[in-house]
């Protein structure tokens, strides 16, 4: 186990460097001059421009810029955005908001997705099963931005149950609707995955044994069936938590939440290189750690899997 973790962490290093290099190249080799943009329509003073270029390290070749950036990252310095605000400060503002939203969405995935999948899987071919299958199919095929507007119009504008946009992200009740919208797609996947997994395990030998031993239904389902069926679902949920962090661009835009997605979208549009690279670097880290944790969880949940 220890060797496995070590090997995985070592493998993460080139992936981390590669992914950050990729996003760095994408952002900084793009046409457009952020320094010239700072001056707007006014003619720029060449000395000031040269000074700013030097300050942002833009007068160096691209590979040197990358090395400089990476060196700073290892000192936990994410640089300064072109507006003069430290990127770490921008992230400290945005990440808590997104983490709250992601946790609300994650909660819905588990609380709604799992039971739906359980009901459908246990009663295959029943009306409940068909309803769950159809509902999840519809949710999967409606794009999130359409779903977001429908939810906003119906629940906030027509029914007036919630506010249309989020005024204060610390108030969890305001995050319920955006959380549901953000969760919708993964929720449908969780339900379908649970259903398939339960359907497969229902026919397993250990299930027949458990029933034949005369165990109460509750124990058979809770202790034998669920434990075995949830392994792929946990894997999905683990990687999804990472995806929820960065995948909220659309949801955060619709509900006007000042989270990572919103900040990132604005930064991309304004060619705020340092902010984009900084946030994506953190997102890559979250993704790598999440996939490592999922693989380790796998071994804990399923003793048949052993990492040499």
């Amino acid at each position: 186990m220890g060797h496995y973790v070590l090997r995985r962490v070592l493998q993460m290093i080139p992936v981390f460097l590669g992914a950050t290099l990729l996003i760095f190249l994408m952002v900084y080799s793009l046409p457009g001059d952020p320094i010239a943009a700072m001056f707007g329509d006014k003619a720029a003073d060449p000395a000031t421009v040269a000074n700013l270029r030097h300050q942002y390290y833009l007068d160096q070749p691209l590979w040197k810029q990358y090395l400089h950036y990476m060196n700073n990252i290892f000192h936990l310095d994410f640089g300064t955005s072109f507006t003069g605000r430290p990127v770490s400060e921008i992230m400290a503002d945005a990440f808590p908001v997104t983490i709250r939203l992601a946790l609300v969405a994650f909660f819905f995935e588990i609380v709604i997705g799992l039971p739906l999948g359980l009901i459908a899987g246990l009663k295959r071919g029943s009306v409940a099963d068909t309803v769950v299958l159809l509902l999840t199919l519809v949710v999967i095929s409606i794009p999130v931005f359409v779903l977001g507007y429908i939810a906003q119009t119906v629940f906030a504008i027509n029914l007036g149950w919630v506010t249309a946009t989020v005024q204060d992200s610390r108030d969890i009740s305001q995050l319920i609707l955006p959380g549901l919208v953000l969760a919708s797609l993964s929720l449908a996947y969780v339900a379908r995955l649970t259903r398939t997994s339960i359907g497969e395990n229902l026919r397993a030998d250990y299930m027949r044994t458990a029933v034949a031993k005369g165990l109460p239904r509750r124990t058979v389902i809770g202790r034998h069936l669920l434990r075995n069926s949830l392994i792929p679902v946990v894997t999905f949920l683990g990687t999804d938590l990472g995806a929820l962090m960065g995948g909220a661009i659309v949801t955060e835009g619709i509900f006007n939440i000042a989270g990572v997605g919103n900040v990132l979208y604005k930064a991309i549009n304004q060619k705020e290189g340092p902010t984009v690279v900084g946030i994506v670097t953190v997102l890559v880290l979250v993704y790598l750690v999440a996939s490592l944790v999922v693989d380790l969880l796998y071994a804990v949940l399923d003793p048949r899997i052993r990492y040499a």
């Binding site: 992914a19 990729l22 994408m26 519809v138 999967i140 095929s141 359409v146 661009i249 979208y265 060619k271």
Partner: protein, 309 residues
């Protein structure tokens, strides 16, 4: 499988002296026979054929110019749901353009992006996955790590950054961005599939008979390893269409002379309270399209997976 079945064919023909001997069928043909009987496949295939017809010849379905705006007819003129196939069937958008005509013409961008991205991703990613799975060793390590790198960057995010570089964006810039960032998905599927297939006895047999690398790869491994790739590609096609619409909706995908459901949904969002139909029809069309491809993928998976038969 086709090779094995073909070799068994003469024996089978001799054994069954009935008037209609069962013709030997490859996995693909077998799946096709299975598919034709499934209602889900028939419905989704019909929808897709209709969609492709919209894309190829939109003028067959409407004679209205989708770009002609008449400001007297803006979205406050309510749609006339009894005027079938007329300009005002689904009403007008904010610039007085026929929503029905734009719905039909919008299919082209979606279909082109969906098909081209899927084709590009399948060829590029499939080839990389085949090489990684077949050669193994350090080649596999490098390709797998590169795949991991791309997986760390969400598709939508990466596409936003790449597309921001283009000042004028056409269908082809969107295709380029999605292929460049999305090919790794197919690499993983193909690699896994090739690794299981290459250990089969018929591959060893082919090698023993002196078949070259290219022949083993494309004649023996590819036909047997392609099934999971086809399934993932079909389902992903719907996803790419949704991604294009999302990018256009965010204002970083297609641009105005091109007609896209994403752009129309974005402009309808401003008038959602007074004219919900302006959002409903392009959004419905988009959802039905994605749904059709997901259902087709499901049906193809069931037909291609021998374990489910």
């Amino acid at each position: 499988m086709p090779d094995l079945i073909e070799k068994n064919a003469p024996a089978q023909a001799v054994a069954s002296a009935e008037p209609k001997p069962e013709k030997p069928r490859s996995l693909g043909l077998d799946a096709w026979h299975d598919l034709r009987k499934r209602p889900v496949f028939i419905i989704s295939a019909a929808l897709i054929v209709l969609l492709i017809a919209f894309a190829i010849a939109p003028s067959l379905f409407t004679s209205v110019d989708p770009r002609a705006g008449d400001l007297r007819l803006h979205y406050l003129t309510k749609p006339n749901y009894l005027h079938f196939f007329q300009a005002d069937w689904f009403g007008y958008d904010g610039q007085g353009r026929s929503i029905y005509a734009r719905m039909i013409y919008g299919a082209r961008a979606s279909v082109v992006v969906g098909i081209c991205v899927t084709a590009g991703v399948t060829v590029l990613g499939g080839l990389a996955g085949m090489i990684a799975g077949y050669y193994g060793g350090w080649v596999d390590t490098i390709i797998s790590r590169v795949t991991d790198m791309f997986f760390g960057i969400p598709l939508l995010l990466g596409a936003l950054v790449v597309l921001n570089a283009f000042t004028t964006r056409t269908v082809w810039s969107v295709v380029f961005a999605l292929v460049a960032l999305g090919w790794t998905q197919m690499t993983r599927v193909m690699r896994g599939s090739v690794i299981t297939v290459k250990q089969a006895d018929y591959v060893t047999a082919a090698r023993a008979l002196g078949a070259g690398t290219a022949r083993i790869m494309f004649k023996h491994i590819l036909p047997n390893a392609i099934a999971p790739v086809i399934v993932v590609a079909t389902i992903a096609l719907g996803g790419y269409i949704a991604t294009e619409a999302t990018l256009s909706f965010l204002g970083i995908g297609l641009q105005d002379p091109t007609i896209s459901w994403g752009i129309d949904i974005n402009s309808a969002q401003k008038v959602i309270r007074t004219a919900p139909f302006a959002l409903f029809f392009p959004a419905g069309m988009l959802s039905v399209t994605v749904l059709a491809f997901i259902m087709l993928g499901d049906a193809v998976r069931d037909a291609l997976d021998p374990k489910l038969r």
